[in-house]
């Protein structure tokens, strides 16, 4: 067992009281199983196909304060942070370093909608937490197991049958600390039959310290439920983020997940989708922009376990300076999953001599009546389009900006809340112009 793995063995021992006592029995078992899985497997190395281009074990070893107790927050978070999306009324849930901070709801929540911290949910709805937590992540990935073992808080959203979240919910996780910090939190989103929700999750760093986050979100979509989920990743470049999202979709459910990565030193997104009922539909897209020495790695796994489902992924990235981009997308179609329609495309643009992009689309097909395509392209902006614009008198840098912005817009336009779409489009534009892509009212120069 490596030294780094041992740190977590000791950490678990030291926190046994917190993690295993006074918690529902099911959760106790899950934490114990998870730490065993982690200790047994250890961190993946270069030989691991899944983590070939991204090794994180050294980060997990060094420096960061790994205490499970609340780090003391000296400022009033709400005062320094006012994220504004113009004309958009949202419920706002704030986490600080992965732990519940406050919830500002706009009016009363509709009947059947529960939004709270995971910590509260464990107390108030232990059976539901027990039923769902860890169901999708169990033994699947060591980072997820690490999270299962240690995460004690996060957000919990439960929408009962036929209920709908009336307004979009914005969840903001603020990272602020007086020392380098490891943050692990855990989220559950449960949409019962015919339920629907519109959720946006943003990450912000509010202090310049190094942050290492390991986040797991498990999403359960019952029959005919509908989810729109946006991840806005905009942490400063001293942060490292490992974010795993698991989705289980039952029949006729509809899931749209869009991930925007504008800043962040090292970001790895794992998205695992299980199409577990017929006629389910999943669309999962990502856009990332990286410069400096940023490292952005997106991994998707679409498992078509039932027939007649559709999935599509579009991931696009722009890479400058020494930045590195990776797309790793796997589509698995089981033997009985006839009439599957799976589409996947990844695309990267390199702007400098030292930027790099790796793509690994993978198709594994066992059913014969399916339509599966994947495409991948790495290159530059289209020369003809550049010339066409310049021949109309638009300067070279401006043509390039316009084209890059248009390139990103293909993902941005998938956001179905208009003010939000405009806001994110504006942020992408600013990011392309190397201006601070931070919220107007936020005084922190965190990005």
């Amino acid at each position: 067992m490596s030294e780094i793995v041992n740190i977590y063995k000791d950490l678990f021992e030291a926190n046994k009281l917190l993690l295993l006592n006074n918690v529902p029995h099911g959760l106790k078992i899950k934490r114990e199983e998870a730490i065993h899985h982690f200790l047994e497997k250890g961190f993946p190395d270069r030989k691991s196909e899944k983590y070939k281009y991204t090794q994180l074990d050294n980060y997990f070893g060094n420096g960061y304060n790994k205490s499970l107790e609340y780090p003391k927050i000296n400022v009033s978070v709400a005062d320094i942070f006012r994220c504004d999306v113009p004309q958009l009324e949202t419920h706002l849930l704030i986490l600080a370093n992965g732990k519940f901070y406050r919830f500002d709801q706009r009016g009363n929540l509709p009947k059947g909608v529960t939004i709270c911290s995971l910590k509260d949910a464990i107390k108030t709805n232990p059976q539901i937490v027990d039923q769902y937590l860890g169901k999708l992540s169990k033994d699947e990935d060591v980072y997820a197991s690490l999270n299962t073992a240690f995460a004690t808080d996060g957000f919990y959203i439960h929408i009962a049958k036929d209920a709908a979240l009336d307004k979009p919910l914005q969840i903001v996780n603020l990272l602020l600390s007086e020392e380098d910090l490891l943050v692990q939190y855990r989220n559950l989103i449960i949409l019962e039959e015919n339920a629907s929700a519109n959720i946006m999750v943003c990450d912000h760093t509010l202090s310049i310290h190094h942050f290492l986050s390991n986040i797991v979100t498990e999403i359960f979509q019952e029959k005919s439920s509908k989810l729109d989920l946006i991840f806005m990743q905009n942490e400063h470049n001293n942060s490292i983020k490992m974010q795993s999202t698991y989705v289980n979709q039952e029949s006729h459910s509809d899931s749209n997940i869009n991930i925007f990565t504008l800043h962040g030193g090292l970001v790895r997104n794992n998205i695992n989708v299980l199409m577990n009922g017929e006629y389910a539909n999943n669309s999962c897209n990502g856009f990332f922009m990286a410069d400096g020495s940023q490292h952005i790695d997106n991994f998707t796994f679409m498992h078509h376990a039932k027939a007649n489902c559709e999935s599509s992924q579009l991931f696009k990235g722009i890479l400058d300076n020494e930045a590195k981009g990776i797309f790793n997308g796997r589509i698995l179609v089981d033997i009985d999953s006839q009439k599957t329609n799976a589409y996947q495309k990844s695309n990267g643009i390199l702007l400098s001599d030292t930027a790099r992009m790796n793509a690994r689309p993978q198709l594994e097909i066992y059913a014969d009546d399916v339509k599966c395509t994947h495409g991948s392209a790495i290159g530059q902006l289209n020369d003809d389009a550049m010339f066409y614009m310049r021949s109309r008198g638009i300067s070279k840098p401006e043509s390039r900006l316009l084209l890059l912005h248009a390139y990103a817009y293909e993902i941005v336009e998938k956001i179905n809340i208009e003010p939000l779409r405009e806001r994110i489009d504006e942020m992408v534009g600013k990011r392309l112009r190397s201006e601070l892509a931070r919220c107007h009212n936020c005084p922190m120069h965190c990005c």
Binding site: N382, D384, Y388, S391, G393, L402, L403, H405
Partner: protein, 250 residues
């Protein structure tokens, strides 16, 4: 307005233009005709500043300025417009945003302030009528999903917006049915003024029924081998290019 002197140009080391001489004055319409592969589009590309074409010899003066070392955008701002044979599709860039950016860059070059949003929209509407395109089309991405005819109309629309001094229309008639051809030609004719000029590059005489040239030049094997009035186009239509080839052989 435009003086081309002994222009030689190559693509990937292969010489395509082998010494072109041409003068175009304000108010004139010139037609350049020639068989496939004679160098017509290469000539248009050199004038607009295509980077893959290597100019090896000669000079091109436009309004008294040597333009061969100019960036394509500066040539455009100087008043040179190329109507593309194959207009490029640019997904995600809206026509409105595209043409407004272009127009304001032109204005900046002339030290004029950017056009206000309302003035811009007004101008757009006027010019749209000229080529009978709908506002719907300008709300779409540049050329994306346009039919062949729509693309060509869009070229003339952009020409109307940018008000160039010299327009080079590269095979603007290709892929057009007769109705679209009339609309396009009509647009070009309406934009004709004593202080601007047009070069029409075409393979067929058909377009010249609608845009009547003052001069017709035959480009063959990288050189202008024959120049005359508009009657030359009719002669070519009747006899084909073989006639020219034979004449040169003699």
């Amino acid at each position: 307005m435009l003086q081309i002197k002994n222009l030689k140009a190559a693509i990937n080391g292969k010489e395509i233009l082998k010494g072109i001489n041409l003068n175009v004055n304000a108010g004139e319409v010139h037609a350049i005709m020639g068989p496939n592969g004679s160098g017509k589009s290469t000539l248009a590309g050199v004038l607009a500043g295509r980077e893959y074409i290597e100019v090896n010899h000669g000079s091109v003066f436009f309004n008294g300025k040597d333009i061969l070392d100019m960036a394509p955008e500066d040539r455009s701002r100087e008043g040179l417009f190329l109507g593309f044979q194959y207009p490029v599709e640019i997904p995600g860039v809206s026509m409105v945003n595209f043409i407004r950016t272009a127009l304001n860059e032109h204005r900046k070059y002339k030290n004029l302030p950017p056009l206000s949003a309302s003035d811009f929209l007004k101008t757009m509407r006027e010019k749209q009528e000229l080529v009978e395109i709908t506002a719907k089309m300008t709300n779409r991405s540049v050329n994306e999903g346009f039919s062949g005819g729509e693309k060509k109309k869009n070229e003339i629309f952009q020409m109307a917006m940018l008000e160039p001094k010299l327009s080079i229309l590269d095979e603007t008639d290709s892929g057009l049915d007769i109705d679209a051809l009339k609309i396009v030609a009509n647009g070009v004719n309406k934009l004709r003024r004593p202080d601007n000029a047009t070069i029409v590059i075409t393979h067929y005489q058909r377009l010249l029924d609608y845009i009547v040239p003052d001069f017709v030049h035959v480009l063959y094997n990288g050189q202008i081998v024959k120049s005359a009035g508009k009657e030359l186009a009719l002669e070519l239509e009747e006899k084909g290019y073989d006639w020219i080839k034979k004449e040169i052989a003699v």
